[in-house]
Assembly symmetry: C2
Homo-oligomer: 347 residues x 2
């Protein structure tokens, strides 16, 4: 992959016009880790191969499908911030992307999803059987990479985070189809499902870069806020972005029975009739009897989107505050801009 396409994939195409300038500044921060991101990509390709042919086939397909590689990028930036020049950051970066990919692969099976990033999902192409096992393989492989590095503190962090992530997925699944999901419950699922792995990505370098340990808590705090903002924007995009931008249908969360932020903030002010519309979509699993536009209107009318954006900005602000407390360095600028990016990206 050449640099332009990597850069473009990473950022510019995903920003609205008014954000392009900060996008360009983020690019120059990313230039700091560009070579390493390429090494992560090579590690990922290697890691997803096996002597078992089907594993390599699915692995290649998923690596080719791309992704923002935001977790490895955060880990690399945090390591760079403290002057790291070894290779552990690359290994750990690839490992985090493998954990992330494993969760996506199992999520797509659970959701019965047909498309991701505009392409057929692995479960669609290879069936649930091989795909469940491929996800298991990725978790194991990630653990093997972390073990080879031999740092028990990092292993403990990863083990705690992946365990909490899985519990979070189960929490979310338990509450699926319920219109009574509270804001607190929603935020707890967001924390577990997304924010913790972002936090681990930012914090891990503090375990192995000499002198970085005192910054561990701040890096964790930054990653947790950034990951929350990132997931909130993800949920908002399901209401605002086009199918073309997302590579999946609009309001697909609701269709799958998942209540997310804009509706959670709209429902307390909604009438009983409006509430029933939402319930109907979740029961139907689609927009056959209630059009998507009625739900979007409802959210608009009840101020759900405005309030959701405010909450998103609050978390992005917390991430920026945490980053500002880190040592001044071009890599820190990258982390700061990542917070803006998380809240403004279009896909």
């Amino acid at each position: 992959m050449n640099q332009t396409s990597l850069r473009e994939r990473l950022l510019l195409s995903t920003l609205p016009e008014e954000e392009r300038e900060s996008g360009r500044r983020l690019l120059s921060a990313l230039a700091l880790i560009e070579d390493k991101l390429r090494l992560v990509e090579a590690d990922l390709e290697r890691g997803m191969r096996s002597t078992v042919p089907t594993i390599s086939l699915i692995g290649d397909y998923l690596v080719d499908g791309g992704g923002k590689r935001i977790r490895p990028a955060l880990l690399l930036l945090a390591a760079r911030l403290f002057g790291y020049s070894g290779e552990r950051d690359v290994r750990y970066g690839a490992m985090l992307e493998m954990i992330h990919t494993a969760t996506l692969v199992h999520d797509d099976i659970i959701d019965g999803a047909d498309t991701r990033r505009g392409r057929a999902t692995a479960n669609r192409r290879w069936g649930n059987e091989l795909t469940v096992l491929f996800g298991d393989f990725l978790y194991m492989k990630a653990m093997e990479i972390a073990l080879d590095e031999g740092d028990l503190a990092v292993l403990k962090c990863l083990s705690d985070v992946t365990l909490a992530m899985t519990e979070g997925e189960i929490l979310g699944a338990e509450r699926r189809g319920s219109v009574d999901l509270s804001l607190a419950e929603y935020l707890e699922v967001v924390r577990r499902k997304t924010a913790l792995l972002f936090a681990a990505a930012c914090r891990i370098p503090a375990y192995f870069v000499p002198g970085a340990e005192p910054w561990g808590d701040r890096l964790w705090e930054f990653g947790l806020s950034l990951g929350t903002a990132f997931q909130l924007q993800d949920d908002l995009l399901d209401y605002t972005a086009s199918e073309e931008e997302l590579g999946k249908p609009v309001l697909s969360d609701l269709r799958e029975g998942k209540l997310t932020l804009p509706l959670i903030l709209s429902l307390p002010a909604a009438t009983r009739a409006e509430r029933r519309l939402v319930e109907k979509v979740m029961t139907d699993g689609g927009f056959d009897s209630v059009p998507a536009a009625s739900i979007l209107d409802l959210v608009d009318r009840r101020g759900g989107m405005t309030r959701a954006r405010a909450l998103l900005e609050e978390w992005a602000g917390r991430a920026r505050d945490a980053a500002e407390g880190l040592p001044a360095h071009p890599a820190r600028d990258g982390l700061l801009l990542a917070a803006s990016y998380a809240a403004s990206r279009r896909k």
Copy 2:
């Protein structure tokens, strides 16, 4: 659970009359680890709980469902053989049973299985969604327990074994529905799917019991042979045991497109018409057009069962040879008897 029911569940009820005597001797060997097996059970119950209600529900259901706990028992016996009196064997024993349970839970989803050990499977009761995630949770939780013990050599062993197990499952899935599965391919799947975790169970104490390390290779060899014999007998039981004994329908492997030992050893001598019968069952996914009795007759006629039993005895013999090379001790007698049990059990 009282001692009798534990003993009975573990052994006597699963042996034919002529094996009861060696069964009773195995029981006295098991008496050595009886208290510890109870601690494993308590650890398992604790380990499968979580603040997330559904996890505890599924966990309790699975622990109640029982199982032979053969992997923990092997680990405890091997630790006892070298005079171990600490508590790491209990932790690791529970952890192995969790890994084993995770593979069963994912297997049942993959096979679409409705019953296991005579009860509804977790996927049948809670659906694939929660059950995939519960399996993931168990893998993570097992890794957490192993991490808490802090022994990198054990972690590396577990990581290698679970990775190879998952690859083995994928290998098996790739070849599913094929009548051309060779004996070598079949044995490779058996090694990965079952034998390696038995080998790990027997070998792990050599990592942490002082003075046991020189016996590590022999313990591994014993476990690998024992696990192979165990899986071969499992596959034979699908041809010979009654539905009542197994808690699942007879010939269910073939129904699911899995060719196992008795048929693999029958097919080279089979006529084209007989071969087509086998293909038909695999294509149909059942015995609607070809009755199960025709397949059993075919295997009988072509000597598949006799040859399968001979191979099973060969592996059980290897396990006994390896055990005989271990230091003399009542716990070693337990391992020796486990080899006879593996080859003669009825469920």
